[in-house]
């Protein structure tokens, strides 16, 4: 047991040494996760309370200044991590689940199942993502949950297409034929033989997409369709900053936060691809 653990930690160390980008990515994401989980324990100010004069530039008391009402921007940015990370996790999880199940069924059964699912995928992917998400969020009504729902509707087809292609590829291999000849049921064939070999591209792609999902959800809030005031969500904070254009510090923190999450997930995804899928590596 201990030797297994040691070899695991050795492998991990080798990865981290070979891939500085992976380390940086993990540090960035780890930083934001810790902030999101603990901010309520140590934050000096309440993110919703007015704690100083309004529109104060950065100072020692308020490192990123105060917003149009006099709330601390840095504390609000830290609290914003909760919303963005929670939305991104929920959206990616649901999209991967829906997309993978439908994509796997599509590739595995073929025929009209395939046709119906793939036509829905084609039509959904024909829309520019932000416009579709905006239409959905607008018709569902403004709000954080509706914005998340809108992003899921926009996002799942990507994974459906990915999983379908992967299943079609795996299913044509010889060992599947052997399992079929051995009398495996269709259900067993799909769950025990095809799916375990089809996951890798989805995992890589989902990791890379985290940052994009954070960005899309923040875009909806920026437009006014996502989080509503006084929620300290990054997109709506940037929208506040746009309204008070000359107080640049209001939008500064949330923008850096979105950017850093995007970079972090990209670094991790890139390194994961090199490790899990060496054929595609080095690009």
């Amino acid at each position: 047991m201990s030797s297994a653990l040691a070899s695991f930690s050795q492998t991990t160390q080798r990865w981290l040494a070979a891939k500085p980008a992976l380390l940086i990515g993990l540090l960035i994401i780890g930083f934001w996760i810790v902030i999101a989980l603990t901010v309520h324990l140590w934050a000096p100010y309440d993110p919703l309370k007015i704690v100083a004069r309004k529109l104060q530039p950065p100072s020692l008391q308020h490192w990123l200044g105060t917003d149009a009402l006099g709330r601390d921007v840095l504390v609000r940015t830290f609290y914003g991590a909760r919303y963005s990370l929670a939305i991104a996790a929920a959206v990616v999880f649901c999209s991967v689940l829906i997309g993978s199940v439908l994509g796997a069924l599509s590739g595995f059964f073929g025929g009209w199942t395939d046709s119906v699912i793939m036509r829905v995928v084609d039509v959904t992917l024909a829309f520019p993502p932000v416009l579709l998400a905006m239409s959905i969020a607008a018709s569902l009504g403004p709000g954080l949950q509706n914005a998340a729902l809108a992003v899921i509707v926009v996002w799942w087809p990507v994974y459906a297409r990915l999983m379908r292609g992967q299943v079609l590829d795996v299913i044509s291999r010889d060992h599947i034929e052997a399992a079929r000849a051995g009398g495996a049921s269709r259900f067993r064939l799909l769950t025990k033989h095809v799916l375990p070999l089809s996951w890798t591209p989805t995992i890589i792609s989902a990791t890379m997409d985290f940052g994009q999902v954070v960005l899309l959800a923040a875009s909806l809030s920026f437009i006014g369709l996502g989080a509503q005031p006084p929620t300290p969500e990054w997109g709506s904070m940037i929208s506040d900053g746009a309204a008070y254009f000359y107080s640049w510090w209001i939008a500064f923190g949330p923008g850096i936060a979105i950017l850093s999450l995007g970079l972090g997930f990209n670094f991790i995804g890139d390194s994961l691809r090199d490790i899990l899928d060496p054929r595609q590596g080095g690009r």
């Binding site: 024909a126 993502p129 569902l140 995007g262």
Partner: protein, 337 residues
């Protein structure tokens, strides 16, 4: 080949119908009440006003009826009437399309040229600091929120340094050139108003950079990968053996081959541009269909937002079709299934 193009052309209107159906269903299966956008809060208690408004906008008909009317209207180019502007959506869009086109064209030019440049540079110096710097700069572009970078750059360059004009397509004192194409830069040149041309160009610089930066990453990433692929081929060895210089090897022998896969991504990155244009326009008060979409979404004006989505989706599908056909001509080896 002709079969392939024909098949794509036939499936195009079907996809459009799917897109229209999807948009229509979505906005009708939800609880958001379009009446709230049409009738003032006080009048909502007045059944006569509510009834009349419903009849006027066709909201009293059954869902299938509304759908048939909608699709029938679409075929004749009627996208409905905006709740907000009370004008035909198609008129609104047509009026604002040139502003978006101008922005997207300049952003595309910037994104493509700099993306290819960065990609070539990165492949030439593979594994060295220049490579990492180029990749990082490109990655920043595809990760940074355009509504944030636009805001911040506008503040720094316009307010702090005054080298970039404020939001909008022209200075307040400039008069729009006579309408020919609707692209201010082109129209100004046609009218021979050189100062207006410079002013329009000046106003385009920052939004086009912000928007173009977002696709630069995708393009440079692929150019780098295909350049590395091409540089490993035998014909590069042959070119070097016969004494071709480094620049000639890169630009004349490797780049044209690397451009074939790049062509596809340039076409597809159109979708990112449409997406980015929506948010860029909102920041720069750019009077295009992007800011129209944002204003419509905010006021739950669903004929307008569906109209914009339809136009966006058609533009996107057309761009993909054009890309695939161009790809087929550029690379006769591939078979299109």
């Amino acid at each position: 080949m002709r079969n392939y193009v024909l098949r794509r052309l036939i499936s195009f209107p079907l996809l459009l119908l799917g897109v229209a159906t999807f948009a229509f269903l979505l906005s009708h299966l939800t609880q958001a009440d379009p009446l709230a956008a049409l009738v003032s809060e006080r009048q909502m208690n007045n059944p006569d006003v509510v009834e009349a408004t419903k009849r006027r906008w066709g909201l009293d008909k059954s869902l299938p009826e509304q759908y048939l009317i909608y699709v029938g209207n679409l075929v004749t180019g009627d996208l409905g009437i905006s709740f907000r502007t009370r004008r035909p959506v198609l008129t609104d869009i047509a009026e604002r399309l040139p502003a978006t086109l101008e922005l997207v064209i300049f952003a595309m030019l910037f994104g493509t040229v700099s993306g290819v440049g960065l990609g070539v540079l990165a492949s030439r110096f593979q594994g060295r600091p220049i490579d990492s710097a180029a990749r990082l700069f490109a990655l920043f572009g595809s990760t940074v929120p355009v509504f944030w970078s636009g805001l911040l750059l506008l503040y720094i360059l316009s307010v702090k340094f005054g080298v970039i004009p404020g939001p909008g397509r022209l200075d307040a004192r400039s008069v729009a050139p006579e309408f020919v194409t609707g692209l201010y830069t082109v129209d100004a040149l046609i009218a021979g108003q050189f100062s207006t041309f410079l002013n329009a160009l000046h106003h385009l610089l920052l939004p086009a950079f912000v928007l173009g930066w977002s696709v630069m990453g995708i393009i440079s990433r692929l150019v780098r990968a295909s350049m590395l692929d091409a540089l490993g081929q035998d014909y590069i060895l042959a070119a070097r053996a016969k004494g071709a210089g480094e620049r000639r090897t890169l630009l004349r022998h490797a780049l044209p081959n690397a451009m074939i896969p790049t062509l596809t991504i340039i076409g597809y990155s159109f979708a990112y541009l449409i997406t980015g244009a929506v948010l860029t326009e909102a920041v720069f008060a750019w009077p295009g269909i992007g800011s129209y979409a944002v204003d419509s979404a905010r006021t739950l004006d669903y004929p307008a937002i569906i109209g914009v989505s339809l136009v966006g989706a058609s533009a996107f599908l057309l761009a993909n079709l054009a890309t695939d056909v161009a790809y087929a001509y550029a690379n006769p080896r591939i078979k299109l299934g």
